[in-house]
Symmetry: C2
């Protein structure tokens, strides 16, 4: 059974795609054009009632929310590909903590920056300079905590690459390679080393090449 | 080893406390007075560098982020108390999906409502009527999706009570019992029945009685 993944060009979907590659799970992609509002089509809303990507279909099993889908495949295929959750409850707890930090501390300012710096023209939004400034200030503080963490730990979740690292890839890529804000990373020695490490993984390089962002 | 839980009177911490009761894990609480800024004290920031509650200490293991802590105890004590994650990878995937929906769709407007309707005086914030109106409008749409889901499933994650349900308790309690906005729930038959069910669990009733909110 090949997993169908909706919306491969979108940032959140890339979390799922990298996870599937790392877990050696076969997939095919179904494009969803957000600029045409295809994520609000009645047929799409039957799969994802909030009208956002990604969604996966695995036989008759449908699941949405990128971090939930990653956890599902990392759990279902524990003994296949690399271990992405942690080997003990304690390791898994720390991975979960940093997945939550990504979702609640890193993602909101990174997302606001991406929307206002990168995607405003595409979606007819007027960029808000105050929000851009505030988002960057928030992100700086978050990355200071990451610098401290990564001075003591090779990866966010511990000494192993995990879902917590994967979850950061798409928006860090926007920051470094699309928004010309690589200095946010480069100014922090351990964050910079970590980014170089995780962004040079074959899984990420393949996904970013196959499904480039729409800007 | 008794688990130390910091900040029991805060909403997010109650997710953790209910989970610990349901998993029959002993705990003691450590008050953190947010109105005095104790969550920004240097000693507290050593435990939680972002300066928010909850944090737990379990021997020399420290963990933060309420949803991560819940997952940790539900995972570590699989065979103790009730099963809160799901019995199969597919069940766990659906629980994770609704935990993520809580975090990304339900929580932001519920949190903004709580801050501006309930906690503004306590924290010296000027309530923003436009934000209150917009948050309620967002919440209505989210609860419409919940109504559809709960018309087909007894609980959010499936036919069993799970972390996905626990995660909603503290802010639903604010909405119904503190903000006089119970109509948001009552107007939706299945959401209303679900709320009556989950909020009458002995674990929740005990936690809300022991650690009432600061307003």
């Amino acid at each position: 059974m090949v997993v169908k993944v909706y919306g491969p060009h979108c940032a959140s979907t890339k979390r799922v795609l990298v996870c599937l590659l790392e877990k050696e799970v076969e997939f095919e992609v179904v494009p969803v054009d957000l600029t045409k509002g295809e994520h609000k089509d009645p047929e799409f809303l039957k799969l994802q009632p909030f009208g956002v990507v990604p969604v996966i279909q695995d036989g008759d099993y449908t699941l949405y929310e990128s971090r939930a889908i990653m956890r599902f495949y990392a759990d279902k295929y524990r003994s296949q590909g690399i271990e992405l959750l942690g080997r003990t409850a304690e390791e898994r707890g720390v991975v979960e903590q940093w997945l939550e930090v990504e979702a609640h501390n890193f993602h909101p300012p990174a997302y606001d920056l991406a929307v206002h710096v990168l995607f405003a023209p595409l979606f007819g939004i007027t960029p808000d300079p105050k929000l851009i400034e505030e988002s960057e200030a928030k992100l700086l503080k978050v990355l200071d905590v990451y610098e401290e963490r990564l001075s003591k730990s090779k990866y966010l979740g511990g000494d192993f690459f995990s879902l917590a690292d994967i979850s950061h890839l798409p928006f860090l890529d926007y920051i470094v390679n699309k928004m010309n804000k690589g200095y946010l990373i480069k100014e922090r020695k351990h964050v910079s080393g970590w980014w170089d490490d995780i962004s040079s993984r074959p899984s990420w390089k393949k996904i970013i090449q196959l499904y480039p962002p729409p800007v």
